[in-house]
């Protein structure tokens, strides 16, 4: 689908979503708010994987760094929300660079491993210094974004829409084209005159920036920063599943996948523990039979 048309359709969807608070219950609004933040997690992941070709098995590392930096600054230094969020996002970028620079030298499964280990380390460190970080219980935050459901919803929707527009626009831009080439065939991209390492690092930074931003915003929505919502491996796995379900390399598909996952998880809550089972099973089936995901299968039926 042409870029212009996509933006048009997406804009209509956003306007429709913006009308929800005028009739939909607070419970559903809360669910969707969470889903919107998740959508940004998933879209950032897709930029890195779908475009730069790098598999990040621990997206919650970048999310967690951003979230906890923001949270700790707010809790101990009393910085206002906007400052914490910005600094949190920057911390995430730095963490992303620290991870990426040596990791890009590694091939194959080793890179994925390093990203996985980073998450485990972060989790352990947070639990270790529970006195400062609040450990598994979480860190209480004096400030929150808003108490009103509708306001939170609109903030999240706006954030997702802007992030989505930026990320999607990037993917369709000239730089996005170079990123795709770098991810698909690094040797060929170099032979065409592109510094692949530079571009992949940049992709890492962008992915980290948005992940960190979203992570920081999320904790100010929830009012606490806890390992379970922003660092745990399970969070990372959900992000990956969302992006793959929605369709790799579509950016917008990742958003769809995230909303689907959160909503489906909620709908299946009456099943108790089986809800995760069902979601994972569905994701597995999608991987096996529809590797292009929802959007991927829908749009790219022609080419490989």
């Amino acid at each position: 689908m042409k870029t212009g048309k996509t933006f048009g359709v997406a804009a209509i969807v956003v306007v429709l979503l913006a009308c929800f608070p005028f009739g939909v219950s607070g419970y559903i609004l809360g669910l969707l708010t969470l889903a919107f933040y998740f959508a940004v997690f998933a879209m950032s992941w897709d930029l890195l994987f779908g475009f730069a070709g790098e598999v990040n098995f621990g997206p919650s590392f970048l999310i967690g760094v951003g979230a906890y930096t923001a949270g700790l600054l707010n809790h101990y230094a009393g910085f206002p929300i906007w400052a914490c969020v910005i600094i949190g996002a920057l911390a995430s970028v730095i963490a992303g660079l620290l991870l990426a620079i040596p990791a890009l030298r590694l091939r194959g499964p080793y890179f994925g491993l390093v990203t996985l280990v980073a998450v485990l380390l972060l989790q352990n460190v947070i639990v270790l210094f529970a006195g400062i970080t609040g450990g598994e219980i979480g860190l209480d935050l004096p400030d929150v974004l808003s108490i009103d459901d509708s306001n939170n919803y609109w903030i999240a929707l706006a954030f997702m829409s802007i992030s989505g527009a930026l990320l999607f626009g990037l993917s369709r831009s000239a730089v996005g084209l170079i990123l795709q080439a770098s991810g698909q065939d690094a040797m060929q991209a170099s032979a065409l005159g592109f510094n692949v390492t530079k571009h992949k690092l940049a992709a890492f930074c962008v992915s980290a920036l948005f992940s960190g931003l979203a992570g920081a915003m999320l904790i100010f929505y929830e009012g606490t920063a806890s390992v379970g919502t922003v660092v745990d491996i399970a969070v990372g796995v959900q992000v990956i599943i969302a992006a793959v379900l929605g369709g790799r390399r579509t950016i917008l598909g990742a958003a769809l996948g995230a909303v689907f996952l959160i909503v489906a998880g909620e709908l299946l809550r009456p099943l108790g523990e089986l809800s995760t089972f069902v979601v994972s099973a569905v994701a597995l089936v999608v991987i096996l039979f529809f590797p292009g995901g929802f959007l991927g299968t829908l749009l790219h039926t022609g080419d490989r």
Binding site: V114, L128, I240, L288
Partner: protein, 291 residues
């Protein structure tokens, strides 16, 4: 006395880890798969063994056998339902197959974990020991089951070594990990070989799981950590090197035990993770790895 305790406990847990890790490495070397549902298969074995032995009352031996059988079945299921369909799928580009297999086994592992939690709750279970009682080793009171764990693990490791190095079937396995194409042109059906390997893997993971269950107890919550341990051991020792896994298992096992005793059990995986990061950056092929 504490150092002796550490020595003994560390030895037992390392032997156990070694068993599981060797299976993990075998699958990687021959089938090319990093099986992220490894922990789930081990826990399945332990939980089935417990369920059979305690709830259904068939006794510890039959229970253990049932547990191992369950692991073998689960292993085959992993290969036939998840791994092979992805590897042979025409809809997935060749460069992406590895990632899809990783994600697929990850999802499968989660499914198994949740199924276990649902059917048996996530409370820790301790498999009935095969040999009850306690023995005193140099003044340290050690459960007989722990001794059995170490002895049994080493017996199986020994048998595995004999299999790989002394039997014709073992030579075929070794050849498969070096050059599968070479075997095809010599008239060996790779598809049959893969089935055997996954079956063998199920056996190894199952025995390790049952032993772990009786030694330390397991619950569905352990799944992730067990896979992470196996992963760490195999990377440390060198992906694809069976003897490397053995060495790596002892490094990890002792590092964890020492940390648990001297600092705190809750952060026993941290030094291992740090070591892993160092290894991946400084010597990615591991201690004994080839490529």
């Amino acid at each position: 006395m504490e150092s002796l305790q550490i020595l003994i406990d560390g030895f037992a847990i390392s032997s156990l880890y070694a068993l599981g890790a060797m299976g993990f490495t075998l699958i990687f070397g021959v089938s090319g798969v990093l099986n992220l549902s490894h922990g789930a298969i081990m826990v399945t074995a332990a939980v089935i063994a417990w369920a059979m032995a305690s709830s259904l009352g068939v006794g510890p031996y039959l229970g253990a056998a049932a547990g191992v059988l369950a692991a073998v079945i689960t292993s085959f299921a992993t290969y036939l339902l998840v791994v092979r369909p992805i590897q042979t799928s025409r809809r997935i580009a060749r460069e992406e197959k590895e990632i899809f297999v990783l994600t697929g086994t990850l999802l499968w592992g989660i499914m198994l974990q949740e199924a276990i939690a649902y059917l048996f709750t996530s409370n820790p279970k301790t498999v009935l020991p095969l040999i009850p009682g306690v023995i005193s080793i140099l003044g340290v009171r050690t459960p007989m089951q722990e001794v059995l764990t170490a002895v049994l693990s080493w017996m199986v490791i020994g048998l595995l070594w004999l299999l790989v190095n002394r039997t014709r079937a073992g030579k075929v396995l070794l050849a498969a990990s070096i050059n599968p194409r070479g075997l095809t042109i010599l008239g060996f059906e790779l598809s049959t070989i893969y089935l055997y390997v996954w079956g063998l893997y199920g056996l190894l993971a199952g025995i390790a799981g049952v032993l772990l269950g009786s030694f330390l107890g397991v619950s569905s919550d352990n799944v992730g950590q067990l896979t992470a341990s196996a992963f760490s051991i195999v990377v440390l020792g060198g992906l694809g090197s069976v003897s490397g896994s053995l060495l790596g298992a002892y490094v990890v096992g002792y590092l964890e035990t020492i940390t648990a005793y001297l600092i705190s059990p809750s952060i026993r995986t941290v030094p291992v993770l740090l070591l892993l990061v160092l290894v991946v950056y400084l010597r990615p092929q591991g201690l004994l790895g080839r490529r």
